[in-house]
């Protein structure tokens, strides 16, 4: 048993080196068996295809190579070369003429971009070598090479995936991948309010920020992080499961035999989805305010002596937020559950009824297992979505009430993401914001992995089919 486990772990690593080895060997044979055109292509991409008559492909290779090299040499290198220190010359603004020094932000960002350009260059080079090899083998076998025209047409047929994915992949690279790599790097620097680019430099500090996150001294982030993390998990748990069960309950109530105007009831609930959240949530936030309608009415009726601290007491605020979230969450679940409940075979209930099962028993042994089975993955995405549920928290009470016991401007109802947001906007404490961002990722990834492997629909795919 243990032996197989070890083998499994070795698998991907060994696979990787095997592929790498095979690749290098193939490059070697391409060089040794290749003709002059191929050998020239090793330096000038695409020369081989051009000389063999595939102009479109060859020129594309050549243009991409030229563009990448021009980018690296003409623009990227000045930043890339300083990536190790993130700049040494500080901007001098003390004399009348400001002399600009290094900008750490630009060095880090464009340095990373240049690094990516290097990888892209190697990748294109490899594609180019492989293409040369393929062409030579085809010619040796006495076959014809595809013409430029058919190369172009293949972009809409056999290579249609490249056409379709080119734009989305570039978009995701520039606007998601690059920024994420950048911020991961920021977590290892001292980029904060005291080291603002461009007037000040920031530099690498290793794991100092992570040590700060887990230090439980007075200035350390440790206790605040623990508080916020626990509340985030508690919130996500309640927000997910309360809405889930209550949503199913409401759906069953509406679906009940003999209830009329089903569409009408549903439409009323769906209003909450339709009305933009910033309108409804901000109004609800004010409903519960100290001078709001609810407190005002209760005071006028004489039921309470002073306003209930819906948003000002941490515990009250947490409960209020969970309750308001039920108001938002039930309609979604009601919609989903309505469709699914109708899929449960009626004869299951019929036979249960003949056996004398009570409605509660039927719910527990038919409806609930079926729903859990079908919506398992959905519950997981709901849970991770709630871990990052910015809008509800921020629009309702902006993560307040603030507390003296918490550092980094965190409040009683702050989730990790709203805390991250506050540190970015209010404190410009980018270094710690980046660390928190990585922590959010770890929490999300770990939850997903652990829960995913426990899901009944993953363990036993045939269960209800």
């Amino acid at each position: 048993m243990e032996k197989t486990d070890v083998k499994k772990k070795k698998g991907p690593v060994r696979d990787f080196f095997c592929t790498l080895g095979a690749d290098l060997r193939e490059i070697g044979t391409t060089w040794s068996e290749g003709d002059g055109k191929t050998k020239l292509s090793f330096l000038f991409f695409g020369i081989g295809p051009i000389m063999r008559g595939r102009r479109l492909l060859g020129v594309t290779f050549l243009v991409v190579e030229a563009a990448l090299i021009a980018f690296i040499a003409g623009f990227g290198w000045q930043y890339f070369s300083k990536l190790g220190t993130l700049g040494t010359v500080e901007t001098n603004a003390s004399s009348r003429v400001t002399t600009y020094g290094d900008n750490s932000f630009l060095i880090l960002l464009f340095g990373l971009l240049t690094l990516c350009a290097f990888f892209a260059l190697i990748f294109i080079w490899r594609l180019n070598v492989r293409e040369n090899r393929r062409e030579e083998l085809l010619l040796k076998a006495g076959k014809h090479l595809p013409s430029s025209k058919s190369d172009f047409e293949s972009l809409f047929d056999s290579n249609f995936d490249k056409t379709l994915l080119a734009l989305p992949v570039i978009g995701i690279f520039v606007f998601t991948v690059l920024p994420i790599i950048f911020m991961i790097c920021v977590a290892f620097t001292n980029y904060d309010a005291n080291h603002q680019a461009p007037s000040k430099l920031f530099t690498w500090v290793g794991f100092e920020n992570f040590a700060n996150l887990f230090s439980f001294g007075t200035d350390g982030f440790g206790s605040t992080f623990a508080t916020v993390l626990i509340w985030t998990l508690v919130w996500a748990f309640f927000a997910t499961f309360l809405c889930y069960f209550l949503g199913i309950a409401v759906a069953m109530l509406i679906n009940k035999k003999g209830i009329r105007f089903k569409k009408f009831w549903r439409t009323i609930l769906v209003m909450t989805i339709a009305v933009p959240q910033f309108v409804s949530l901000l109004y609800v936030a004010k409903l519960f305010a100290a001078d709001g309608l609810i407190n005002g009415t209760l005071l006028r009726l004489g039921w309470i002596k002073e306003a209930l601290p819906f948003w000002t007491d941490p515990m009250w605020a947490r409960i209020t937020i969970i309750v308001v979230n039920i108001w938002i969450g039930i309609p979604y679940l009601m919609l989903i559950a309505t469709g699914l409940l109708m899929n449960i075979p009626e004869d299951l209930y019929e036979s249960a009824r003949i056996d004398g099962a009570s409605p509660w028993q039927m719910f527990r042994s038919i409806t609930l297992p079926y729903m859990l089975f079908v919506t398992g993955p959905f519950l997981l995405t709901q849970f991770t979505g709630n871990l990052n549920n910015f809008n509800v928290i921020y629009l309702l009470n902006q993560g307040n009430p603030k507390s003296m016991g918490l550092v980094g401007g965190a409040g009683g109802t702050d989730l990790l993401v709203t805390w991250l947001y506050k540190m970015t906007i209010n404190d410009t404490n980018y270094r710690m914001a980046a660390v928190i961002g990585i922590m959010v990722f770890i929490v999300t990834a770990v939850t997903s992995l652990v829960v995913y492997n426990f899901l009944p629909s993953v363990k036993d795919e045939e269960g209800f089919q």
Binding site: F156, D161, I172, P179, T267, N295, L340
Partner: protein, 292 residues
């Protein structure tokens, strides 16, 4: 036997009455904020009678259109904010739907090298919180001149650029269209692009409407990126960023009814649109939930 049936009937009747009471109660709770919002928007602020802040009663003492008049009086940029949001929403809906369709088709129908790697990579990317990238995005957009005054195209770019990762629901739908149809058309000589444009897309009307609807509604609520990218430039705010100031700033006392009026005007068209396309939305959400 007869007695038993009638007792069962009575039991069911009582059960149903109870259910109706519950449903009416639920409806009241769910509608209450919206009724309150509309009523507040019509409250006047005649000095001595009422004022435009938060009050502890629901029905206004005197009705007036003052708040609505204020929105269009030119004292603020409400019309501009509204137009901004509509422009952002329309462009986002169109472009995002196109990108999602392209990605979904490629991932559902084509088998290329690195396909699973790409899907896994995007799944992991999705686990990073979106705000993490905020300052970097701001800087990138600033380099292109797409912040403050140019915030509207900038925001559209941000929303659209990463929308490829949200392909799950649409791909799930494509997976249910039989592959045999594609194969048949390809044997007849149609290229992939032709199959995609003339067969798959016309067959996917529900999922296209769902994707566009969700994409259209998102910009109306976006606060985080919109406020950061348009920072300090009043005329390129969207409604959410601009109007939440009326609630949170210190003098919200005077602006609360104006916020309600503005909110009502935002909510009405969106709600009508949503109600009209409700069935598509339900189909998309349910399909997405089951496939996960």
């Amino acid at each position: 036997m007869k007695e038993k049936r009638s007792s069962m009937k009575r039991k069911r009747l009582i059960g149903n009455i109870f259910s109706y009471i519950l449903l009416i109660l639920i409806s009241l709770i769910w509608l209450f904020p919206f009724v309150g919002l509309v009523l507040n928007s019509f409250r006047s602020y005649k000095p001595g009678v009422e004022y435009g802040g938060m009050v502890d009663y629901l029905v206004p003492k005197t009705f007036s259109l003052d708040s609505y008049r204020f929105l269009f009086s030119g004292e603020n940029n409400y019309v501009q904010w509204y137009l901004n949001t509509i422009i952002i929403a329309i462009f986002t809906a169109v472009l995002q739907t196109m990108i999602v369709l392209c990605v979904s088709y490629a991932l559902s129908r084509m088998r290329f090298k690195g396909r699973t790697l790409l899907m896994r990579f995007w799944l992991i990317l999705g686990m990073f919180p979106g705000f993490l990238t905020m300052i970097c995005l701001y800087f990138l957009l600033k380099q292109m001149g797409l912040t403050q005054a140019g915030a509207i195209p900038g925001l559209i770019l941000v929303y659209v650029a990463s929308s490829g990762m949200g392909y799950y629901v649409c791909k799930g739908y494509f997976d249910t269209i039989p592959k045999a149809l594609d194969e048949a058309a390809r044997i007849d000589g149609a290229s992939r692009a032709r199959v995609f444009l003339t067969m798959t897309i016309p067959m996917s009307k529900p999922i296209i409407i769902y994707t566009a609807l969700v994409a259209f509604m998102a910009p109306w609520c976006d606060y985080v990126f919109a406020s950061y990218i348009a920072f300090g430039h009043d005329s390129s705010y969207n409604v959410a960023v601009a109007m939440q100031r009326w609630v949170w700033t210190g003098d919200y006392q005077g602006y609360f009814t104006r916020f309600c009026a503005g909110g009502v005007l935002v909510a009405i068209p969106i709600t009508i649109l949503f109600m009209l396309l409700q069935n598509y939305y339900v189909e998309g959400v349910t399909g997405g939930a089951v496939k996960g």
